[in-house]
């Protein structure tokens, strides 16, 4: 691909400044938020759907693979582009086109940042509920590709529950509309199939999202526990009570330490684990449920239960949670995160396994995760410069995913499969299950030009490489 003619034609579509093909510049389009890396042949930054369509048609005719990229915060290698592929990035398509207070929807371009949208619609007394931890940076287009989650998805559901319509460009450049404000439209739910398809079905160029009214009352608790087992029991107790909080997050001792290294989030340093719980709704409802949650926490051995006094304290508690993964940088220079899910009643069992794996492999593992919906994020902390450590971490990750599957869970709750979990798909899906999925991809993208080589096992394996810095430092003798 990518003859100079092709690049010239790209420039003719989007303008000189928005085709990046100098390899020194492309060094910064190699990565996303995870550990994978590959340099695309070129990056193109279109300004509107028409440009996207023309770029796609051009690439289609030239036989060039296209990979979409939002803000590059993904954690499964979804935006990693093969060496002769074209990366199409959306930071320029970042307008909020319309906020509709009657239909309670917003129409946005794919490059709009999740938190910017939420902040904007709050001026109208509404909110955009999905709140991935990267919400300050991640884009709506990327959220759609991964069906992104976040703490508040416990009560409100993931991205797919909030995206009701899309304008989409298919691999050959055709523009189609999926879903609309009329949410029970005729025909197959193509919108539902598209969300979470990891960029393999098409590129969303306009997104219609559902907004929720901001709640009348919000209450945020910190349940402080002596150990992780009792915190897990508390999670089951709360859910078993028939309470579905807006958010229910677990932060273990190591993560508390990491967070408190960076910022004073108000987590007690000596706790074995804390639960961050948020309730939302009518005053009366929050009042009533607060009592039930409190008693559930005390009954399961909480050392203390603290309720945020004001917005500032509430904000502080959340900042701690949302910066946890970055804060692991204060413990070790690298981390690798597993996004497995187990039924909520299996959390204790799963965390014991995590602990056991951690000891057996000699890898530090921190746990900060969406306990309310059983979505773990065991996070392996290591220094990639140590010989063999990557292999070790990957082997440990494999065991954790196997355990999730064995407990009736799954590989990914919100980060997607992408490159790095594709070889584990057979743990949860039989060949026939994956064949059915591939049929849908065949229908959307018959030529498989969009983000190929992701999601499904194809014989290529995740293969950790030695750290090059270690190499140059001579640690790899």
């Amino acid at each position: 691909m990518a003859s100079s003619d092709f690049l010239d034609e790209l420039r003719a579509i989007v303008g000189e400044d928005y085709v990046i093909d100098h390899r020194e510049d492309l060094l910064v389009y190699e990565y996303d938020g995870s550990v994978d890396r590959s340099m695309p042949r070129a990056v193109v930054l279109p300004a509107n759907a028409d440009e996207v369509s023309r770029v796609m048609a051009l690439a289609y005719d030239a036989g060039v693979t296209v990979v979409g990229r939002g803000s590059g915060t993904g954690l499964s290698g979804g935006a990693i582009t093969p060496p002769d592929g074209l990366q199409i990035a959306f930071p320029r398509m970042n307008r909020i086109l319309e906020v509709d207070s009657i239909n309670r929807t917003a129409l946005v371009e794919p490059g709009v940042i999740n938190l910017d949208l939420d902040n904007h619609v709050r001026k109208f007394g509404m909110r955009y509920a999905p709140d991935p931890s990267s919400q300050r940076a991640c884009s709506l287009g990327g959220n759609i590709a991964e069906n992104a989650g976040g703490p508040h998805c416990l009560a409100y559901g993931a991205t797919t529950n909030h995206v009701i319509g899309m304008e989409v460009v298919l691999e050959d450049g055709e523009i189609v509309h999926l879903g609309s404000q009329a949410r029970e439209a005729s025909g197959y739910d193509l919108r539902g199939a598209f969300v979470g398809s990891e960029g393999t079905f098409g590129i969303a160029t306009k997104i219609l999202v559902r907004l929720l009214p901001t709640p009348e009352s919000v209450r945020t608790f910190l349940g402080i526990f002596p150990d992780i087992d009792s915190a897990c029991t508390a999670v089951s107790a709360v859910i078993g009570y028939g309470i579905v909080p807006a958010a229910l997050e677990m932060i273990d001792a190591l993560s508390i330490r990491a967070v408190q290294n960076v910022t004073d989030a108000g987590y007690p340093n000596d706790a074995g684990a804390v639960l961050l719980i948020e309730l939302e709704g009518l005053r009366e409802e929050v009042e009533e449920v607060t009592k039930e949650v409190e008693s559930a926490l005390w009954d399961t051995g909480a050392a203390d239960v603290r309720i945020a006094e004001d917005d500032a304290e509430r904000e502080r508690l959340w900042v701690g949670r949302k910066t946890a993964f970055g804060a692991f940088g204060t413990i070790a220079p690298n981390y690798y995160l597993v996004d497995g899910v187990v039924p909520r009643t299996r959390l204790t069992q799963m965390l014991r396994k995590v602990n056991e794996v951690s000891e057996r492999y000699g890898i530090t593992i921190a746990n900060v995760f969406h306990a309310g919906d059983g979505n773990l994020h065991p996070c392996m902390l290591f220094d990639a410069r140590e010989p063999g450590v990557m292999d070790n971490a990957m082997a440990a990750a494999a065991e954790l995913m196997e355990e999730c599957a064995a407990l009736g869970g799954t590989l990914s709750g919100e980060h997607g499969i992408g490159l790095e979990k594709k070889q584990f798909m057979p743990l949860v899906y039989a060949d026939d299950d994956m064949a059915a999925m591939q049929r849908v991809r065949e229908a959307f993208a018959p030529q498989n030009r969009l983000n190929p080589g992701k999601i499904f096992p194809d014989g290529s394996y995740y293969r950790p490489a030695p750290h090059p810095a270690a190499h140059t430092a001579g640690l790899y003798a």
Partner: protein, 473 residues
């Protein structure tokens, strides 16, 4: 590549690649060798591996970065710039003009550092990277020229600065400035000078004199009003006394009013911030030692500065001189005792003014206060202590105004884009006064307001507080 499947190789092919994965076809087939034959990082001042790999490229810095927000290009983002540093470190590319252009577009505002969940010391990484660029003589011509002219020749020398300042003031006061601007005389001068002229701050009517006459042996001491609570040292530094004489005098009065004896040691000088930002670590260290000596001999409890940029670099003296056996401890002590004046006043806490000051004020957070020193509440506390003052927040109050030391001279286009953005946000609040806490920002804001033909004024937080005290009569 579509269709051109390659067999997956078992051997790990790796010439570069970070904490990387080889996926076999079609991913993770890294290129071999280096992209160019530029030099790599070398020597003791190179960015350290520990600092570089603290960045896990999560991307949370993107939306905080002024140049990313303006360009939407990953190359002009903190994450991208660190990726380029890593690539040099890993030998995947040498330092090239292109890389330098991305690094030089960085304002070093450190907004990214304030939001970084991993605690990446971005400021330090960028200073060390620029040092490498300097060492290899790869800085852009504009930056090289400026750093010769100002950073090495002028700023470190208060005497030379003062003479230059007097000349500038005369030039501005006698109306030559307007004339020269009209006839376009400066356009005829070699590139850069006309730009500098446009950037030239309006010199104060009265300079602030840190000493009794020109450099006598004894420091000037301003006695506290009422009973003395403590003795504080005030940084007069390099250009502040000339550019911001009013601010300096207000600072002294405000400190006196709050029970402080104020000392301005004679031997002090430029804090070295601009040299450090440009990568001239050695000269930066010399200037730091000079200030440490000057304030140590003055016997003060705290060292106060009304310049956020200076404060941020003074608070990092400990880090800067950690390998200097003679100064390491003193530098750490100096850094720990340094306070921004708003921080100091809020900690005291200050004696609230009694008179009303019915101004509508919006606060512009200087990067080196908000991001480098993580101080955003203190200036607001000071402002809120003033009866009748109405504080209204502007959008993006902590997004860089584009001043950034000499940035406005070298990266004129980006600087002005950010200036317009900042002025737009400030004017949208309908405030009468923009409060700031850094001389560079104040000059940039003043220029932006002139361009926008606005009569909104710019004042340092302590000038506003001083005005409230003055109003007490």
């Amino acid at each position: 590549m579509a269709g051109g499947a390659q067999p997956q190789t078992d051997e790990v092919r790796h010439s570069g690649g970070g904490i990387d994965a080889g996926h076999g076809f079609p991913y993770g087939v890294p290129f071999e060798g280096s992209l160019n034959d530029g030099p790599g990082f070398a020597g003791s001042d190179a960015p350290t591996e520990a600092d570089l790999y603290r960045c896990v490229h999560c991307g949370l810095c993107l939306s905080a970065c002024p140049t990313y927000v303006e360009t939407q290009l990953e190359t002009e983002s903190p994450r991208g710039r660190i990726a380029l540093m890593k690539a040099v470190h890993e030998g995947r590319t040498g330092i090239s003009e292109r890389l330098v252009s991305h690094w030089e577009l960085c304002l070093q505002c450190r907004a990214c550092e304030a939001v970084c969940p991993s605690g990446v010391p971005y400021g330090r990484l960028m200073e060390h990277t620029r040092a490498q660029v300097q060492d290899n003589n790869l800085a852009s011509p504009a930056l090289s020229r400026l750093s010769r002219l100002f950073l090495r020749a002028a700023l470190p020398h208060n005497g030379r600065l003062r003479i230059a300042g007097h000349l500038m003031r005369a030039y501005q006061r006698w109306g030559l400035q307007g004339l020269v601007r009209r006839i376009g005389f400066l356009k005829a001068l070699p590139g850069g000078l006309s730009e500098m002229e446009a950037q030239m701050p309006v010199m104060g009517d009265r300079f602030f004199s840190p000493s009794r006459r020109v450099y006598p042996a004894n420091p000037r001491v301003y006695s506290s009003e009422g009973q003395s609570r403590m003795t504080v040292g005030l940084l007069s530094g390099c250009v502040m006394p000339m550019m911001q004489g009013d601010t300096m005098r207000a600072a002294v009065r405000v400190l006196q009013r709050n029970g402080c004896d104020v000392v301005t040691p004679t031997a002090q000088g430029c804090c070295g911030a601009l040299n450090l930002h440009a990568g001239d670590l050695e000269l930066g260290r010399q200037l730091a030692r000079r200030n440490i000596d000057a304030f140590r001999s003055a016997g003060v409890d705290v060292i106060i500065t009304a310049s956020a940029g200076c404060g941020s670099s003074m608070k990092e003296y400990g880090d800067l001189l950690r390998d200097d056996p003679d100064y390491a401890d003193a530098a750490t002590e100096f850094a720990e005792n340094t306070r921004d004046i708003t921080e100091f006043l809020a900690e005291l806490p200050l004696d609230p003014p009694q008179a009303e000051l019915p101004w509508r004020v919006t606060m512009q957070d200087p990067c080196h206060l908000a991001h480098a020193q993580r101080i955003t509440d203190a200036p607001r506390q000071v402002l809120r202590s003033i009866p009748g003052l109405q504080l209204t927040e502007m959008a993006e109050s902590s997004l860089c105004c584009g001043s950034a030391g000499f940035y406005s001279l070298i990266q004129r286009d980006m600087s002005q884009r950010l200036q317009r953005r900042k002025i737009g946000n400030a004017l949208a609040t309908e405030a009468q006064v923009i409060a700031s806490a850094n001389p560079g920002c104040m000059a940039q804001l003043e220029q932006g307001l002139r361009n926008a033909e606005s009569d909104v004024r710019v004042k340092h937080v302590v000038e506003i507080l001083d005005a409230a005290y003055q109003a007490e009569g």
